[in-house]
């Protein structure tokens, strides 16, 4: 167990090296990027190069970077000259806001659907819900985002399509985040519904459910108190698994809705070849991802052998 936990460190280490090297292998060299296309004299080139340590051997560059990173200094953005850590500090909370909200929305939708499907197993409600989940599973996230914007922002004009709305207070925040949360949440609904449905169907077949009925307990009570309690456990396990999937999804939702979270930052940085920012963001995402996977491995293999990864 502890081996698994510790193994994350070398992994991230090697990952950081890979990113670093990859960034430096860039054909179009960073100096040109920095100069934003304008021609440079040789001295200007050298000065720029020196300033960003690009004239040092790559190992030294890496060493410098790691040393700084350990102190929380991830360098400066080539574009805005702001500290990368500051940029990340601003964008990370927005991403977290998106993730948490997305999770909530997914549960709000999937739990009633899962229960409805299980209670009417085999009947048309169940079939309809299963079909719906199949459909939700098939729509790529970026498409559902664009469609959502089209329908709700443009056609109906009820919801905004850009930004987090954080400037306007809680109400504005909520209104602005509603679409992003929903589109992200919908991406998770399919599997959650399926899991809850299956678990509930299993539980409802148990003898103790019939016996509870035989004692004259109302059906709603039996489902709520006897069945749901057991059936919800695998869904909780599932949430951990979905976290890593969510992180990727959030990049898209973030970017499309212009939320200013990690996704927006990353995409813009890549387009601009803003190396420090790309490095920093990718490291954060990778760390997030690795931690999420780790958490899932630990929890899932403890609780439910069905989801054990190995």
């Amino acid at each position: 167990m502890s081996v698994r936990v510790l193994s994350i460190i070398p992994v991230l280490f090697v990952a950081s090296i890979l990113i670093f090297v990859a960034m430096r292998v860039v054909p179009g060299d960073p100096v040109t990027v920095l100069a934003e296309g304008s021609p440079l004299s040789v001295e200007q080139r050298q000065a720029l190069s020196h300033r960003y340590h690009l004239d040092q051997p790559i190992v030294t560059q890496y060493g410098l970077w790691i040393a700084n990173a350990a102190r929380g200094d991830l360098g400066l953005s080539l574009k805005s000259n702001r500290p990368v850590s500051q940029i990340l500090g601003e964008s990370l909370p927005r991403t977290l806001l998106l993730l948490v909200g997305g999770f909530f929305v997914s549960l709000i939708i999937s739990i009633p659907l899962g229960i409805a499907a299980a209670l009417r197993e085999g009947r048309w409600v169940d079939q309809a819900i299963i079909s719906l989940t199949m459909f939700l599973l098939s729509i790529p996230l970026f498409i559902s985002c664009v469609l959502a914007i089209f329908i709700f922002a443009f056609q109906l004009g009820v919801l905004p399509s850009f930004g987090t709305g954080e400037e306007g207070g809680i109400g504005s925040l909520f209104v602005h985040m509603l679409l992003p949360w929903t589109t992200l949440g919908l991406a998770l609904v399919a599997v959650q519904t399926a899991t809850l449905r299956a678990g509930l169907v299993d539980v409802l077949r148990q003898e103790y459910i019939v016996m509870a009925q035989s004692r004259g307990l109302p059906w709603a009570h039996v489902v709520r108190r006897h069945a749901l309690r057991s059936a919800l456990v695998p869904v909780v396990t599932l949430l951990g698994l979905q976290l890593s999937y969510m992180i990727v999804g959030s990049v898209f939702v973030d970017y499309i809705f212009g939320l200013g979270g990690l996704g927006t930052v990353l995409i813009n940085a890549v387009n601009f070849r803003d190396l420090p920012v790309v490095q920093g963001t990718v490291m954060v995402v990778a760390t997030f991802f690795a931690l999420a996977n780790l958490g899932v491995d630990l929890v899932a293999s403890r609780l439910d052998p069905r989801y054990a990864i190995r």
């Binding site: 790529p140 664009v146 970017y255």
Partner: protein, 297 residues
């Protein structure tokens, strides 16, 4: 584990009534499933379009028709035109091949290479295996999308960066599954027998162990293909894949998004194209697995 796998494992439970299998052959069961046939036909159509798209396109997808920009669908331009005045339908038909090419490219890397790698590392074991597993751990610490983004940031955008990036991203997961399957096989009697007979390791791996794992790789490849399609389209959407003016569904979506308000057909067409393909594939795969093995699926 991928969403579709999870959903399917979990959706496929035996129904309450005692399940009686009739004595029909797998082919009979498959052919009698209407949904299977329909989705199969849809997929075949897509593949066909991918192959002969350029031949049946009414216009040249690169040609702008000045004066006809943002023209809504009509008799001449069946799905309208985009901001350059290019025929959307033609672009759609041309674009099919890139989507399919991308998806198959990814599967070639992930499934084929993953297959071979998994087999070899399972049989060889030792330090090679350990090292490979650590390497996989590193790769797996990145979502495939991010890997592709890194490659794009390094080598520039383009179909190949994207295919290699996503392919490498999928490879470890598939290789791992093949590896565990192959390891089980390695311990079987027939492998020991083959070793005793002095067969070379390569022969044992590919002539003996491999055939027993092919069904698994087919399942893995078929289940991951829709995700490859989605990821490639997604990367093109972000501007990292195929570059305009080459028509590609993800890219068309990105372009269309900017002008969504007054030219919705620019978005709806590629969106529908991608979604229908993925949906058809998911349903087809699920039904096929059920026809082949009803008890399990």
């Amino acid at each position: 584990m991928r969403s579709a796998e999870m959903a399917e494992t979990v959706l496929a439970r035996p129904i309450a009534a005692p399940f009686v299998t009739t004595e029909r052959s797998r082919l009979e069961r498959a052919l009698s499933d209407r949904l299977l046939i329909v989705t199969g036909v849809v997929i075949a159509v897509y593949v066909l379009v991918g192959l002969i798209g350029p031949l049946i396109a009414p216009q040249n997808p690169y040609t702008s028709h000045p004066g006809f920009n943002f023209h809504p669908p009509n008799g001449h331009f069946l799905i309208g035109t985009d901001k350059e005045g290019r025929d959307v339908l033609s672009r759609l038909l041309y674009g099919a091949r890139y989507t399919l090419l991308g998806a198959f490219g990814v599967m070639a890397i992930a499934a084929l290479l993953g297959f071979v790698y998994g087999l070899i590392t399972a049989y060889v074991g030792g330090w090679f295996d350990s090292l490979s597993m650590r390497l996989f751990d590193v790769i797996l610490s990145f979502p495939p999308l991010v890997l592709a983004i890194i490659l794009v940031a390094t080598f520039g955008p383009g179909l190949y960066s994207v295919i290699i990036g996503v392919g490498i991203g999928y490879l470890p997961a598939i290789a791992r599954i093949i590896r565990s399957e192959a390891m089980v096989q390695s311990k079987q009697q027939y492998v020991a027998a083959a070793e005793g007979l002095g067969f070379s390791p390569l022969r044992i791996i590919f002539k003996h162990i491999m055939p027993n794992t092919t069904s698994q790789i087919i399942v893995q490849a078929s289940m991951n293909l829709p995700y490859a399609i989605i990821d490639i389209a997604g990367l093109s959407f972000l501007g990292f894949g195929i570059q305009p003016p080459t028509p590609d569904w993800g890219g068309m979506l990105a372009e269309g998004q900017r002008d969504l308000l007054f030219a919705p057909w620019l978005v709806i067409a590629p969106a529908a194209a991608i979604t229908v393909l993925v949906l058809a594939w998911n349903i087809f795969g699920a039904r096929l697995r059920r026809a082949v093995d009803p008890k399990r699926y």
